[in-house]
């Protein structure tokens, strides 16, 4: 239950961080650490290098851009949850964050970290997907924008290359009806299944290797969720139908 050995790097600038990611073999970025440190403690992750971005200035900005909200790589989830700007422009993001773990975790956890970790049962990737947002990633070669629908590649896998740092996530404004709902065994746990709606778009989480867009009229079509000790595949499909009804009623 202790992290395996690694070499620790604490760059002071984004440029320095990108140079480290470009030159080091097997490096992981450490932001809030609320997913990565448990993985280290369990030794499910054994990176040779940790690049801690917490000492980088300027990554904790949250601002309005292109009719939506840009959230920097070090903006803590609690700050987004409390932000009047988020409440005004994209309240769905605030609602999604309030379902993430517990406040004490959100004091440290970051929005970009959740997206980069890409747990299939987590809320923020599904929220980014349903809203049609994107992330901005940077490497020594420059910036690139990855739209949500091509960001999530598999269970805890994204389209980011090993030398790329996610510097910002962008969530479009939500004007129409929106809602997020999930079912979990205990408050604050990862969802057994969840549904998030923005206007006539619907995304599901916890029922496929990545969050998926679904047809609101037939949300379970084509889904083959996995079963585990907490929920069978059939129960997850049942939850998809019930949760979809709930978010559509909002």
């Amino acid at each position: 239950m202790k992290p395996p050995p690694f070499e620790y790097h604490a760059p002071a600038t984004v440029e320095e961080a990108c140079a480290l990611l470009a030159s080091l073999e097997d490096a992981k970025v450490l932001a809030g650490g609320q997913s990565l440190v448990p993985l280290l403690n369990f030794r499910l992750a054994r990176p040779q290098h940790l690049v801690d971005i917490n000492r980088i200035g300027g990554l904790d900005r949250m601002y309005e851009r292109d009719g939506g909200i840009a959230v920097g790589a070090l903006v803590r989830q609690a700050a987004v949850e409390d932000s009047p700007l988020v409440a005004r422009v994209c309240p769905l993001l605030g609602d999604a964050i309030r379902l993430v773990a517990h406040r004490v975790i959100r004091n440290r956890g970051t929005v970009c970290g959740s997206l980069a970790h890409a747990d299939p049962a987590s809320e923020l990737p599904a929220a980014l997907l349903v809203l049609g947002g994107h992330v901005v990633v940077r490497s020594t070669l420059g910036d690139r924008t990855i739209p949500a629908d091509s960001l999530f590649a598999g269970v805890m896998e994204t389209a980011l290359a090993p030398d790329e740092l996610m510097v910002e996530a962008w969530f479009p404004a939500v004007a129409e009806k929106f809602a997020i709902s999930e079912e979990s065994r205990r408050h604050g746990d990862f969802a057994l299944a969840g549904a998030v709606r923005a206007g006539d778009r619907l995304a599901l989480f916890g029922v496929a290797p990545t969050p998926v867009l679904a047809d609101p009229r037939d949300p379970a079509r084509g889904l083959r969720p996995s079963g585990d000790l907490e929920a069978s595949p059939d129960f997850r499909l049942h939850l998809v139908r019930v949760l979809t009804e709930r978010v559509l009623a909002a």
Binding site: P4, G33, V37, N41, A101, H102, I105, N107, G188, R246
Partner: protein, 173 residues
């Protein structure tokens, strides 16, 4: 890093978790270690004033920051912190293993919200596990602490006592 107001050097080994650094290197064993993966809340400390899991931080990350542990709430022989006093008065503990984590979470909760509603109390302690009390007396202690705190709104103690306890906290869905 400053721990309870005293400056300490960060450890040399970057693998050292903040929780282990507090306990083993600084002898501050009030911070308890339960699950070491962020679920139980026993290791909660204040990091620059906000409650965080010390088992999910590397000690080197605390360099240049301020950490407050349960030992930092009241000096030896001094009156207890209002949250500690409230836990004592309301019997909000039995074995006591989870208590430092609860106390630090509640200190953080009341800092942000000096007069939390019943739902906000449930929400505020939902990240801490207690296997003894069933939470009813802990919830009462949070109310009591709010009334004891200088900034508290003086809520009457016991408003929760006749309400049903043990409801699941899924009140936001």
């Amino acid at each position: 890093m400053k721990v309870n107001g005293v400056a300490h050097p960060a450890p040399n080994d970057p693998r050292r978790l903040l929780s282990d650094h507090l306990r083993h290197d600084l002898g501050l064993t009030g911070t308890h270690v339960g699950c070491e993966h962020g679920v139980c809340g026993c290791c909660t400390v204040l990091f620059d004033g906000a409650p965080v899991r010390s088992c999910l931080m590397l000690a080197v990350q605390a360099e240049g920051h301020e950490v407050t542990t349960v030992e930092g709430l009241a000096a030896d022989g001094a009156p207890l912190h209002p949250v500690q006093q409230a836990f004592h008065e309301c019997h909000a503990l039995q074995c006591g293993f989870c208590t430092p984590g609860f106390v630090m979470s509640v200190v953080g909760l009341l800092k942000e919200n000096s007069n939390p509603s019943e739902q906000e109390i449930n929400e505020g302690i939902s990240g801490n596990l207690c296997r003894c009390t069933g939470y009813a007396s802990i919830r009462r202690a949070v109310e009591r602490a709010a009334s004891l705190s200088p900034s508290g709104a003086g809520r009457a103690q016991g408003a929760l006592s006749n309400k049903r306890v043990g409801e699941r906290g899924k009140d936001r869905s």
